[in-house]
């Protein structure tokens, strides 16, 4: 087995050497394709991260109670909310707690709030939803209850953000799939050249009783080499680019979007895994496709 593996690798290297110009050209194109693919991957992961962030920030509904609503009435309402499946947790927030929170948020300027004649904040029930998609439903039911003054929930913003992120995700995924197909085609065309130049050898091997996998071995290795080298080059470039983005714009991004970029170390580790496996698969699939016609015949 090892013996055979080494044979395949040795042959693959020899073939690449024999076919240098073509291999270089396709290496270049696959690297370029994977580079673009990597950019979309960065976008996809970050958008995904952002939409998770949005979802967890906005999966709260604040039900403000009228001043006339008693604590007992509020408890009864809370029991109703707790019975709903869409709601994860129910917390009562008294106007005093709300004010304290507000003061905490304002930090150094909190003493301004001390001048308020009365506490203007309402008592509220804070609902944490299982998923942001139930918001509309829950809001409608809460509105129907007696003793509710107003419901604070940024429905439209959330909907818009979610549909935008979904859109970006779909586009990025489609483009990534398309680029993968293109790179497989490039690999398979390159390998096909070597296959053609060795067609006769393949036929003889088949007549002597070589299995299809034995014949594929060296070509498979060649494809995998090609894919792997392209993946490593483009993977390193994409990682460097991400490092640059994070160090230059990371902070600004955090301030604007309220969620940060995906952490650099996490991103690069995952990029390495994704690119290496992508390179190997592109190479393997490409060379298997290129040989199909030759191995189908008996």
């Amino acid at each position: 087995m090892n013996n055979k593996l080494f044979q395949s690798i040795r042959q693959a290297i020899r073939q690449i050497g024999r076919n240098r110009a073509m291999v270089f050209a396709s290496l270049f194109s696959i690297t370029a394709i994977l580079l673009i693919l990597g950019l979309f991957l960065l976008l996809l992961v970050n958008v995904n991260n952002m939409s998770q962030g949005v979802k967890s920030t906005f999966d709260q509904v604040q039900v403000n109670l009228k001043d006339t609503t008693t604590r007992d009435e509020a408890s009864a309402m809370m029991e109703q909310f707790e019975a709903m499946e869409e709601i994860e947790s129910v917390v009562y927030q008294s106007k005093e707690t709300a004010l304290a929170n507000w003061k905490h948020k304002w930090g150094d300027n909190a003493d301004l709030l001390d001048r308020l004649p009365t506490n203007p904040l309402p008592n509220a029930i804070i609902l944490k939803l299982v998923d942001v998609k139930y918001a509309k439903d829950v809001v409608e039911r809460a509105r129907a209850m007696a003793g509710v003054e107003k419901i604070a929930y940024s429905q439209d913003t959330v909907d818009k953000l979610i549909s935008i992120t979904n859109g970006i995700q779909i586009v990025a995924l489609v483009l990534i799939a398309f680029l993968l197909v293109v790179s497989v085609i490039v690999v398979s065309n390159t390998i096909k050249l070597t296959v053609l130049s060795r067609e006769r050898e393949i036929t003889i091997m088949k007549y002597i009783g070589a299995t299809n996998w034995y014949i594929r071995g060296p070509f498979l290795m060649e494809g995998i080499f090609l894919g792997l080298i392209a993946a490593i080059i483009s993977g390193v470039l994409v990682s460097l680019l991400y490092h640059y983005i994070v160090t230059s714009f990371g902070l600004d991004f955090m301030l604007i979007m309220s969620t940060g970029l995906v952490r650099e170390k996490f991103m690069i580790t995952n990029l390495a895994v994704v690119f290496v496996s992508m390179g190997i698969s592109i190479g393997a699939v490409g060379s298997i496709i290129s040989m199909r016609r030759f191995l189908d015949t008996k």
Binding site: K4, Q7, I204, Y207, I208, G209, A210, T211, K298
Partner: protein, 277 residues
């Protein structure tokens, strides 16, 4: 002759065609062919071009699927083999082609070793067995040469070495002398006979009557996809077998007298026992 027949009957059946038909559209490849070949036999498959000789070989190797009938080989039915079983089926047969089918970029040694690598023999066995095979076919000391540095006869010997290195049950030779001059053709025939005596069944396709008539082996004659004659110690006369109407055009036969002369001389010189059964 009678003795030879009873002797052959002791051996087990190795190839059996049962009502095999293979059509190419409306053209007949082989039609309703039934034949039995026993282990250790030396069989000539003769007939004019397009008679169905190649089809016979191809369906046996499962390079083609049959339309009807069964082909039993050793202990299984070739027509029922799954695709993944085909390589193993072929490994139990050695094949020699008319054009030798050697790999020009590999040395003599590598050309033979490659057949053993395919069946995943350990390197040690390859290093031991390849020289032995080359010795057997008379190519000792030529290991590092490339096929184009060999004479045509030597190339065919190399092809034979490759075909038998994995000890096949059957050696299939498709016109092995077709590209050779009579002298060299004779050498190849002697080599095949020698291999046959080691117990390997030989199935040789040819349309050379000279060889067939000089060897006096079993002859199966095919015409228009059907077996028209099958006899031990047989002869082959293209005028009768291939073309009953009598206008056989003779472009592929080489000089009968020269060949027979060469064969006899060789027999006296060194191969006296080569024809004895």
């Amino acid at each position: 002759m009678a003795e030879e027949t009873t002797e052959k009957k002791k051996n087990r059946l190795i190839i059996e065609f049962k009502n095999v038909t293979k059509m190419y559209g409306d053209n007949v490849g082989v039609e309703d062919v039934s034949v039995k070949i026993r282990e250790g036999e030396f069989v000539f498959l003769v007939g004019p071009s397009g008679a169905g000789k190649s089809t016979f070989i191809k369906v046996l190797l499962k390079m083609l699927d049959v339309d009807k009938g069964h082909i039993y080989y050793v202990d299984y039915d070739v027509t029922q083999l799954q695709n993944y079983e085909i390589p193993h089926h072929r490994r139990s047969m050695g094949i020699v082609f008319q054009d030798f089918s050697l790999l020009p970029k590999k040395t003599v040694f590598e050309n033979v070793a490659f057949a053993m690598e395919i069946v995943q023999m350990p390197r040690k066995a390859i290093r031991r067995q390849v020289p032995a095979m080359l010795d057997l076919v008379g190519l000792k000391g030529q290991e590092t040469k490339y096929p184009n540095e060999l004479s045509i006869g030597e190339q065919q010997r190399l092809a034979i070495a490759r075909a038998i290195v994995n000890n096949p049950h059957v050696l299939i030779a498709d016109e092995p002398t077709g590209n050779l001059d009579p002298e060299t053709g004779w050498e190849i025939m002697r080599l095949l006979e020698q291999i046959n005596r080691r117990g390997t069944t030989i199935l040789m396709v040819t349309h050379s009557p000279d060889i067939v008539n000089a060897m006096e082996k079993r002859v199966i004659a095919i015409r228009d996809g059907r077996i028209v004659r099958d006899e031990l110690g047989g002869q082959y006369h293209p005028e009768e077998d291939d073309d009953p109407d009598g206008d056989y055009s003779d472009h592929e036969l080489f000089n009968l007298k020269n060949f027979e002369k060469a064969y006899r001389e060789r027999k006296i010189k060194g191969g006296a026992d080569s024809r004895k059964e």
